[in-house]
């Protein structure tokens, strides 16, 4: 499965091993791990709750994977995205790309992350000392996705 949405933490080493299994033509694996930070917009973050829309979210991620595979010469793309309530230092998202050469792996990995930030149906709620707040969409992320 190239796309998973799950509450549990992921095992980066196991996912990389799984992505690479049986393919000796892979020369490059690019990985990205997104992590909950303890600050956002200047406020302390105690927890971050991620919500998704079951069915639609997985479908959107599959579309992003297919898009990346169409644009770059890659063997495989994997997205694992967590949902539920997370604390600072918890990993949120893992993106892995395997390719023959490094340029394709880097580009596809960054492309997937930019799209995840803008298009994928996830919503974040932060708990700060001032209470809970839903995170608003960010302009910067739209700019990043518009590059592609």
């Amino acid at each position: 499965m190239s796309v998973r949405v799950q509450r549990e933490e992921f095992d980066v080493a196991r996912e990389i091993a799984d992505l690479r299994a049986g393919n000796a033509r892979i020369g490059a694996v690019a990985a990205f791990i997104g992590i909950v930070r303890d600050v956002n917009d200047g406020d302390d973050v105690r927890t971050l709750t991620l919500e998704h829309y079951p069915g639609m979210t997985e479908k959107a991620l599959e579309v992003i994977v297919a898009d990346a595979r169409g644009r770059w010469d890659v063997f495989d793309v994997r997205i694992i995205h967590r949902v539920g309530t997370l604390a600072p230092t918890d990993p949120i998202v893992l993106v892995l790309v395997a390719s023959a050469h490094r340029g394709d792996a880097f580009s596809a990995c960054e492309f997937v992350m930019d799209y995840l930030k803008t298009r994928a149906p996830f919503w974040k709620k932060e708990a700060t000392p001032q209470g809970e707040r839903w995170v608003e969409a960010r302009e910067r992320d739209d700019d990043a996705a518009a590059r592609w």
Binding site: G34, L50, E51, Y53, G55, M56, K59, H81, I92, V93, M113, L116, K117, T118, R119, A120, P121, F122, W123, K124, K125, W134, V135, E136, A137, R138, D141
Partner: protein, 84 residues
């Protein structure tokens, strides 16, 4: 019957995660659905007023104002996504 799903901040604001409704015959597009729901007043009117950033998906695909809605559809209303 149409299945309505309310997500994230919108679910909190509307006080509901979703409902199944029989739509009047003239409520056959996303725009018409939003106007019909806003007609309930209070939080509905406030949250679904024209100009509010509400996104709509029909059967898990992002929809536009004139996307048709038919019996059996799952229609989700949610704020702009905030990503991973």
């Amino acid at each position: 019957m149409v299945r309505l799903v309310y997500l994230a901040r919108l679910r909190d604001a509307l006080g509901s995660g979703g409902e199944s409704v029989d739509l009047p015959g003239d409520v056959a597009t996303v725009n018409a659905l939003l106007a019909w729901l806003a007609g309930r007043g209070d939080a509905w009117a406030r949250e679904l007023a024209p100009g509010r950033a509400v996104r709509v998906a029909v059967n898990h695909d992002l929809a536009q104002a004139h996307t048709p809605i038919r019996a059996g559809d799952e229609v989700a209303l949610f704020p702009p996504v905030t990503g991973g």
